[in-house]
């Protein structure tokens, strides 16, 4: 079978580009062709930048031809979640309130990718201000899961996940506050990682919940994830919470499957394998863990006793921070402003009433309430205490285990519209990913099988700044599960879905 260029991985394409077997412009045209082919159905992007991408690809090609590529990512087309500030390129954060906002600066992670020579295709769809688990809260339109167009891609980095799965980008960046990279990665059958809090600079990442937000890559496979991570994990003096870490190359830390997991102690929290978990998902997760065991890993049950409080704590802390972070969208300096108003207060009210969607308003209300005089101790302070307990849960488990494993999401991709009217059901979608953000730990979701023809993700959680171990075990999982070329499989499913859609 001859593969299209867009069906290859970053590490494969990197070799082809460096060996001059493929040109950066050819590669871009291949991906662009794919975007034109499927974007109408999938709707991964809020903004596409054909001119910028073509200019960047031409420059990459010039450097490749002259033997001076800037990095192994030279000429690789990628997408950026629309939460990342891009100089001169509209950045909406999925919200009407920023529908006309063009940042005058690049986020540090974006700058790193530009300096590495990547070709930025555009800005991917997301739940408004990264609040949601289905991409249905986008202020513009929902994104569809390319494996089944009637289903959601997950969220909030839904467009970033669907673009990688459907071949509309070789990789993307997303952001993860409570699972927003890992959950859509799981639902779209791609690899998604949330690095340790402080590993990737948040400068230029439009804040949702500052103490939880972290930028992470979504890629076709674990090798690509390691490659991209090598460029974005870096200390940044512009972010006071960015940490200076000594580390080697993540890519070079990858090992053959058996070597990687031999003697590795994997804890499986019993709280993650119980109630609410779809049997199909449970079966695939268990099967993958058995494969790892066969490779020499020691898999044992463990406990994170405070897990059941994580969601509650998260839905106090994240909205509290959001209520403050989103207060700046007041119509005064940039973004949307209501057309009709009587005075300043009226302008604030109408601008925000018209500019924000219902989920964002819900969380601003929750957060404002939690921080109010008289309620602060009962809500915010209490939630911070729970957060400490959750962190301690992980510390205890990591005294005994090297990594924690479990399902990324309790379900496979659900139907569009299925949970929009039931916020609590939607919130439960992140029940296994949220504790990781509360503890500031790294987590990765890697495809481990299919249930009802839809991808299932396995989540690994690691010790702080131990991304290398996570990547090794995820790599081993990928090898052991050998699901085949996911881009090809997804394209097949998408073609079928498109045909059915056309018939229906």
């Amino acid at each position: 079978m001859i593969l299209e260029l867009w069906q290859l991985t970053v590490h494969e394409l990197s070799q082809l580009l460096l060996r001059k077997e493929v040109s950066a412009t050819e590669l871009l045209e291949s991906v662009w062709g794919r975007i034109e082919e499927v974007e109408d159905q999938v709707k991964s992007y809020i903004t596409l930048d054909p001119e910028g991408a073509r200019a960047a690809a031409a420059e990459s090609q010039r450097l490749l031809e002259s033997g001076r590529p800037r990095s192994a990512l030279e000429g690789i087309p990628c997408g950026l979640k629309d939460v990342l500030s891009t100089k001169g390129l509209r950045t909406t954060c999925g919200s009407k309130i920023l529908s006309n906002y063009v940042p005058p600066y690049d986020a540090t992670a974006v700058q790193a990718l530009k300096e590495a020579g990547t070709v930025i295709l555009g800005k991917t769809n997301m739940d408004e201000f990264a609040m949601g688990s289905s991409c249905e809260n986008s202020g513009f339109f929902p994104t569809h899961n390319p494996w089944d167009l009637t289903r959601v891609p997950g969220g909030s980095s839904g467009g970033s996940a669907s673009a990688v799965a459907a071949g509309e980008a070789m990789f993307t960046l997303g952001s993860d506050t409570g699972g927003s990279v890992r959950q859509p990665a799981s639902l779209c059958g791609v690899v998604g990682m949330k690095p340790t809090y402080g590993a990737v600079s948040r400068y230029g990442l439009i804040a949702f919940a500052s103490s939880l937000d972290q930028i992470g890559p979504l890629t076709r496979d674990v090798t690509d994830c390691a490659m991209v991570l090598d460029f974005i994990v870096k200390h940044d003096p512009m972010d006071s919470t960015s940490v200076e870490i000594k580390r080697g190359s993540y890519l070079e830390a990858l090992r053959p499957a058996d070597e990687a997991v031999k003697g590795l102690k994997i804890g499986v929290p019993k709280e993650y394998m119980g109630k609410g978990l779809e049997p199909g998902v449970e079966a695939q997760v268990k099967k993958a863990l058995e494969l790892l065991q066969e490779l020499g890993a020691e898999v044992e049950e463990c406990s994170l006793p405070h897990s059941s409080y994580a969601l509650d704590a998260y839905y106090v802390i994240a909205p509290a921070e959001a209520s403050s972070n989103l207060a700046r969208y007041d119509g005064v300096r940039y973004g949307y402003r209501s057309k009709q108003y009587d005075d300043l207060i009226d302008m604030y009210r109408k601008t925000r009433a018209e500019g924000f969607g219902p989920e964002v308003k819900r969380r601003i209300m929750l957060g404002t309430y939690a921080l109010s005089a008289g309620y602060y101790d009962a809500y915010y302070l209490k939630a911070q205490k729970v957060r400490t307990l959750i962190r301690e849960d992980f510390d205890k488990v990591f005294a005994k285990f090297d990594v924690i494993a479990g399902p990324t999401s309790p379900t496979v991709a659900f139907k569009l519209g299925e949970k929009v009217d039931d916020p609590l059901a939607m919130y439960l979608s992140d029940i296994f990913t949220i504790p990781v953000n509360l503890a500031g730990l790294p987590g990765i979701s890697v495809p481990c099988g299919f249930s009802e023809g839809l991808p299932v993700g396995l989540q690994f959680i690691g010790k702080a700044f131990d991304e290398s171990t996570l990547l090794r075990v995820a790599y081993a999982t990928e090898q052991a599960c050998s699901l085949g070329n996911m881009a090809v499989l997804c394209a097949r499913a998408l073609a079928k879905g498109t045909k059915e859609g056309a018939r229906g």
């Binding site: 948040r202 400068y203 006071s240 919470t241 915010y380």
Partner: protein
């Protein structure tokens, strides 16, 4: 106040630190630039930006806190103070709430009374709105964010101040201390020092506090004095009539000399403070703090003692001179160039203060250079100009900025000591005043002074009085 009541006053002073760059970004802090030219994504609060703390701002805040006898908090943190206003681009101010940088300091007033300082904390300044017309009726306003992110310290006093004079004394001393250590230029007219006052009254002898009002829009130390006096009077009258004082913010109306209620009803402001997640807690190294303490510049009290010791000045003179660092520096430079500390002190405290006062100028606005005053003092010492003329020359120097030599030359003010030039005038005065001459000869000694005065008058004050004396005595005795 009728004497029945006593005032309880606490002051909140905001001081801009004179760092080169802003507190959370590298924008310059210079005052008076074109609107919105000293800004970047960070201080404009654009989506996605993050603050990075300027170490120099912390250093200056610690210097100030130490000079105010405060304890430095070993674990301080920043918090967000949330409120909507167009001059605040993030809709929250990064400030310090429950763990401020420093606590428990004091300032000693003239009489030795200590006013407690509850806390000193570090925060960012907001921008400035320029309203088209009156604030209540302006059709639109311009926002200038140059000032946004300039580092501020807020110094909160204990409610230890009992009358407007103490308030003025406290502020003068506070300003002197901050200027001496060089952390702020403390220019009220440029907004680098701003004062809000909390004031209440209570029956003398009562231990409980009355209901307080907060005074805002105070533009000068004089306005602090006037505003507080007005407010104390207003509150006392209310109590006399048995009416309650309403807790509210009141605006000082300088023109009409009254305070006005700013809002119809005090809105219960809830700032929803919570720890700033974008900054790490501020844990100051005790060695670093000690280093700052050790290298703190000379404080006003120490300088005063030195003035008494080194220059032999009376306590009073020393106290007045050190109350303003620009004046103290001016004085010391004059003494270095001229000597005669007491002569210089008399000139500074007499003539210079009078002229500053008359012109409404702040000491830091003084353009006169020490070397210019010293030239004038030398001309006086050498008899080139008389003491009286020197004062006129000084006034001209102050107003026009001209140097004393050219003023003296231009207006022909050189003292006349030449006997041959004065002799005819002396003879003329004697001839024109036979009655006075007779009086003098019959023993009325004061008649002599009149004759000297006549000669001085004839020379427009330029005659050397000693020479005139000598010539008159020669003719009359």
């Amino acid at each position: 106040m009728s004497g029945k009541y006593e005032a309880v006053i606490g002051l909140e002073v905001h001081v801009e630190l004179n760092t080169k760059s802003k507190i959370f970004c590298s924008c310059p802090t210079e005052f008076g630039k074109e609107p919105n030219t000293q800004v970047c994504p960070v201080c404009l609060g654009l989506p996605g930006v993050l603050p990075v703390l300027n170490e120099e701002a912390v250093r200056k805040a610690v210097q100030a806190a130490l000079a105010l006898n405060c304890e430095i908090t070993s674990y301080a943190k920043f918090d967000r103070k949330n409120y909507f206003y167009p001059d605040l681009p993030k809709a929250y101010q990064i400030s310090q709430y429950d763990l401020p940088l420093a606590r428990n300091g004091w300032i000693e007033l003239s009489g030795g009374k200590r006013i407690g300082i509850r806390r000193v904390h570090l925060e960012e300044d907001a921008g400035k709105l320029v309203h088209q017309g009156d604030i209540t009726s302006a059709a639109f306003s311009f926002a200038d964010y140059n000032r946004c992110g300039v580092p501020l310290i807020e110094i909160v006093s204990e409610p230890d101040i009992r009358d407007p004079e103490e308030a003025r004394d406290y502020l003068t001393r506070l300003k002197g201390i901050l200027q001496h250590i060089g952390v702020s230029d403390c220019r009220m007219e440029e907004g680098s020092l701003r004062v809000d006052a909390n004031v209440s009254v209570r029956p003398v002898g009562s231990r409980e506090f009355g209901t307080r009002t907060e005074l805002k829009n105070i533009g000068s130390f004089r306005a602090v004095y006037r505003g507080l006096s007005y407010e104390i009077e207003r509150q006392s009258k209310l109590l006399d009539r048995g009416e309650p004082v309403i807790q509210e913010t009141r605006h000082w109306d300088e023109q009409n000399g009254v305070t006005r209620s700013l809002r119809g009803k005090e809105e219960a402001q809830d700032y929803r403070y919570f720890p700033e997640p974008d900054l790490v807690p501020l844990q100051l190294d005790p060695d670093w703090v000690e280093e700052i303490r050790r290298t703190l510049p000379e404080l006003p009290e120490a300088r005063k003692a030195r003035f008494v010791r080194e220059y032999g000045l009376p306590e009073y003179d020393a106290d007045v001179l050190v109350s303003s660092p620009p004046i103290a520096n001016f004085y010391e430079e004059c003494v270095r160039l001229f000597g005669e500390p007491k002569t210089v002190s008399n000139w500074v405290m007499g003539e210079l203060f009078r002229l500053l006062n008359d012109s409404g100028m702040e000491p830091e606005e003084l353009k006169l250079r020490p070397s210019e005053l010293v030239s004038l003092l030398k001309m006086t010492r050498e008899g080139v100009v008389s003491g009286k003329i020197a004062k006129d020359v000084f006034e001209q120097m102050f107003r026009t900025g001209e140097d004393p030599e050219s003023i003296v030359k231009k207006h022909n003010l050189v003292q006349i000591s030449d006997k041959s030039a004065l002799e005819p005038l002396v003879l003329q005065v004697i001839a024109e005043n036979p009655k006075v001459v007779d009086d003098y000869k019959s023993g009325k000694k004061q008649a002599f002074a009149f004759l000297v005065g006549q000669v001085m008058k004839a020379t427009k004050g330029r005659a050397n009085p000693a020479v005139v004396n000598e010539l008159l005595h020669k003719r009359l005795d």
